[in-house]
Each structure stands twice: as C-alpha cells, then as structure tokens.
C-alpha cells in the first residue's frame, strides 16, 4: 500500500503531462465501450463517486455532427432552459454530493479542448438507481430500457450481485442506469452484506430513484433501507414501477413466467419445481393476500411514497416496445412527447401521478436529470466496433 501511495501521484502527473502533449494520439483515448462496470467503486462508497474526466478526447467528427443537432434544438427551447437553470440553482443542495461534477466547472476546464463540442450548459446527465426487492425484474427492466441484454436476468432471485451501470446517451442527455442487487431482509452471509452495500451506494449516487415492485406490491423487505427510500423520495425525483403487469389476469403464483429472461440467454430447460423453491416457498400464499390488480398496487404505493413523481404499470418482460417501458424511457430522457406515451398506456389510474397532476410534461421530464456534461464518453453507446 505504501508503495502504491507513493507511486500513484507520480504516474498521475506523468499522464497529465502526457495528455497535454499528446491529445490527438489515438492510443491515449479514454477506453470506451458499451458498459462501464465499476464493481469496486460501487460495492462500498467510501471514496464516493469516481471522478470522471469530461470527454476530453472525444472524436471531433462525432462532436461536430452532434453539435449541429444540438444548436437547432437549444435555440428554440432556450427560454425553458433558462427557467430550469434558475430552478436548479435554487435546488442546489439536493443535487450536490461528493464528487458531483459541476457543469460550470467543466465549462471552465474544457474551453481549450471542447470549444466546438456540445454546449454542456444545456446537457442533462445523471444517475438513475434501480432498486427493489429480489426478483422484481430490475435487471429485466434495465435491459428493456437500454434495448440491450446487458445485465444478466434469469428467473431466479438474487441473480444480480454487483451494481451494474448501463449508459443511454442521446444528443440532449445521458442516462446512467444503475442496476442493483435485490434487497433482502437479513443478509445471511458476508456476500449479501456486500451486496446490500452496493444498494446503499446506489441510493447515495442516485439523481433519480426508480423503485421496482411487482403487481403484488412486494415491499422493500429491509426496513432500514425502506425508511431511507421514504426519506430520500421527498427530495429526489422518484418513480415507482409496478412490474409484471402481465400476471394480472392469472392471479396465480406464476412468478417463473414473469421473471423470464430476455432474448438471447433464453433456454427453457428449467423445471418449475426448481423455480418455486425460492419464490413460492418463501411467500407464495402470503403474497396472494396482497394486491392483485394494478389500481390496488398503485394506491398502495401512493401511500408508501406519497411524493412519488409517477407510479407506472410496466411489463418489462415484453421488452422495449411495452407501452410502460416506452413511457418510462421518455420520462427519463425528457421527451419527446411524454403525453402521447401516457395516452398509449391506456386509461389513467387514480394515484398514478401526484395529486392534482394529470400528466408529466416534456419540460418537467427533462428537469429530472440535473444539468451537467456527460459523465461518460458519448460514443460509449454507439461504439460497437467490437461487436
């Protein structure tokens, strides 16, 4: 450890000098890929969020093309943005946390490098933490939001062990979806304690909370974490997802169908007695006493989290085309046309949005993520040269 501490600053300074000299050397480009998994950074967040560089080395060609689209959009909606900016400055305490890269800082830092790149003052980016009890379909939801089978999703509970980051970048915002391990009541061994720490870290990092539950209103089993979510949701935008709506007509304990995996890893050689070992044995009958219809589940969660921005019924197994998934993606990305997606979802359910609010507008949706430069390389989503 001592040698590490001694060597690292030297290496860091060396690369710093190198970077100023060799900015255009391709080998020095920050390694970009579809996924950035930062296991060690999320399991315990003692150091907090890793400080990421702004995309200093983004390729100029892609920048210019993105820039053009950007300019045209920003000039039309400039007034709305200035209003939002004011709003955000009044809210600075809620979005300020350790390691948060401030947009103004970035602007000053990058003047030499990114003069003709995206106007970072108009860019939204942030972390969306997906949390919920085990086997609620968090990974499936993240996969269908990303339209990519990135997180492994099987029909067994506790499949996800690490917090996994998936990135969705558009020309107006960057969405960092943080899939977390399922919350369990009492960690039985050290591994599960580590997994719960990953959840805690994700809660800390979140700009937007995405609480996933199922149609049976399975609550977050850990009281401490649930209390923390209830406390957080008052000042962090929170969206509750009622997953597994496809189970509604059956009213039977057919969890095995609901948590079915998406696309490629699919192989149906599993047997049912195996699947029910963990799910049914624990709470099979008990769960049936809970809510069984979407309106019941919505009102239940409205009681739990009265300030939740929206409570959306979703069937994540249906993939990216499910109306609920489409709506959620549009809300998180800030449009386009959130209202139309809400209409597509069908008849409004009482309690879906906050009392007195009938729907979410594009501007409100866009304001969910804090203003700031992209946290990761913009090419990360589109860079598929290895695929």
């Amino acid at each position: 450890m001592r040698t590490r501490a001694r060597i690292n600053p030297l290496i860091g300074i060396f690369f710093l000098l190198l970077s100023t000299l060799l900015q255009n050397v391709p080998a020095f480009h920050v390694e970009s890929s579809l996924v950035h998994t930062r296991i060690s950074d999320y399991t315990a967040s003692s150091r907090g969020r890793p400080r990421l560089p702004p995309p200093l080395f983004a390729s100029p060609a892609s920048e210019s093309s993105q820039n053009n689209e950007f300019k045209s959009e920003t000039t039309t909606a400039n007034d709305a943005y200035t209003e939002q900016r004011k709003l955000f400055e009044s809210l600075d305490s809620s979005f300020d946390y350790e390691g948060r890269v401030q947009s103004s800082h970035q602007g000053n830092n990058n003047t030499s490098n990114n003069k003709n790149s995206i106007d970072y003052n108009q860019f939204h980016s942030g972390y969306v933490s997906v949390i919920g009890a085990a086997n609620m379909g968090k990974s499936t939801l993240v996969n269908s939001l990303l339209e990519e089978s990135l997180c492994i999703a099987t029909r067994r509970p506790q499949t996800t062990r690490h917090a996994i980051l998936g990135i969705l970048t558009t020309n107006a915002c960057q969405l960092c979806l943080l899939d977390t391990p399922g919350i369990i009541e009492t960690p039985a061994y050290k591994l599960q304690e580590g997994m719960m720490e990953a959840v805690q870290g994700a809660l800390k990092d979140a700009d937007v909370l995405l609480v996933v539950t199922d149609i049976f209103s399975t609550p977050i089993p850990n009281d401490e974490l649930f209390a923390r979510v209830q406390k957080l949701h008052a000042f962090k935008p929170t969206i509750v997802v009622i997953n597994k709506t496809d189970l509604q007509p059956h009213k039977v304990n057919s969890n095995s169908d609901a948590t079915d995996k998406t696309s490629d890893q699919n192989s149906d050689d599993d047997d049912d007695d195996d699947n029910n070992y963990y799910t049914a044995a624990e709470d099979g009958d008990e769960r049936l006493e809970k809510t069984a219809t979407i309106p019941d589940a919505v009102s239940r969660w409205r009681q739990y989290l009265p300030d939740a921005l929206a409570i959306l019924p979703i069937s994540a197994v249906d993939g990216p085309t499910n109306p609920g998934v489409v709506l959620l993606r549009r809300i998180l990305l800030g449009g386009p046309d959130v209202a139309a997606a809400i209409r597509d979802l069908g008849r409004p359910i009482p309690g879906m949005f906050r009392p007195g609010v009938a729907f979410i507008g594009d501007d409100e949706a866009r304001a969910l993520l804090p203003l700031g430069p992209p946290l990761y390389d913009e090419d990360m989503y589109t860079d598929r040269s290895e695929r």
């Binding site: 390694e31 060690s40 047997d271």
Partner: protein
Amino acid sequence: MSIVEVIFCFQSYNPFCLFAKPNHNPHSFLASEMIRAALLETFKKELPYCCEVQVTSFKEQPKGSLNPKLIKIEANIFVERDSQKVIVIGKQGSKIKEVGILARTSLEHFFQTKVYLALQVKVDKDWRKKDDKLKKFGYLK
C-alpha cells in the same frame, strides 16, 4: 476539478494503468456474468449461489492471425466445497459441458463473433464468508 481529481481519473481510466484489476475490463466482467447466468440456468436450488466466476484471460485474436474474429476466454468457476465441484463438473464433465455451451452461445450472440471458452472449476473454501475472498471478487472494499 483539482489536480488530485485529475490524477484519480487517469489512474482508473487510462489504458496503461499499472494497477488494473483482473475484472476491470468491462467485457471480461460481462463474460463472467454470462457464465454465471448459465450456471443459474443449469443448476438447481442453492448451488449457483455458491458459485463465483472469474475471467482469467480475455483475448481477442490479433488481426493477422488465421481466425481474426475469435475471442478466447478462460474462466475459473469457484465453488465453496469439494462436493460441489463434483456436481458442477458432472459425470464425465456432462454438466460443465452444458454450462459451457449455454454460456458460449450467449457470449457469441453478444459479441457477434466466435468464442472459445475454457472453464475450470476450483474450490475456494467458504468464499462467501471470507472478507479477503470477497474483496478479491470485488464485493467488498
């Protein structure tokens, strides 16, 4: 952004980093997750929960080679007990073969190339309860 923060950035994200962890490459992490998914699919009850997968090498073939599109992956599957090792391997390796086929097809689908996958089962006694092992696998800090 202070100079210290800049140093931190470069340390964790530069390609020449001397202290890179074995799982740091996102692709090899993804590969280990896919192998774990295959384990969850193949085995019943608690067995897959006792397994941990670590990718030891993830190599894309150099451009000039005979089969430029092949990715060679070597991975270790760690189980908690000696008895579990036998179950994971199966009679004459039948189970590990199943796991390998499942994992390989999903890897091939994801990377859109041919994949060579070598799996090895190892015993790491009670790794789920030991701090140092969990740190090694990245669950604790």
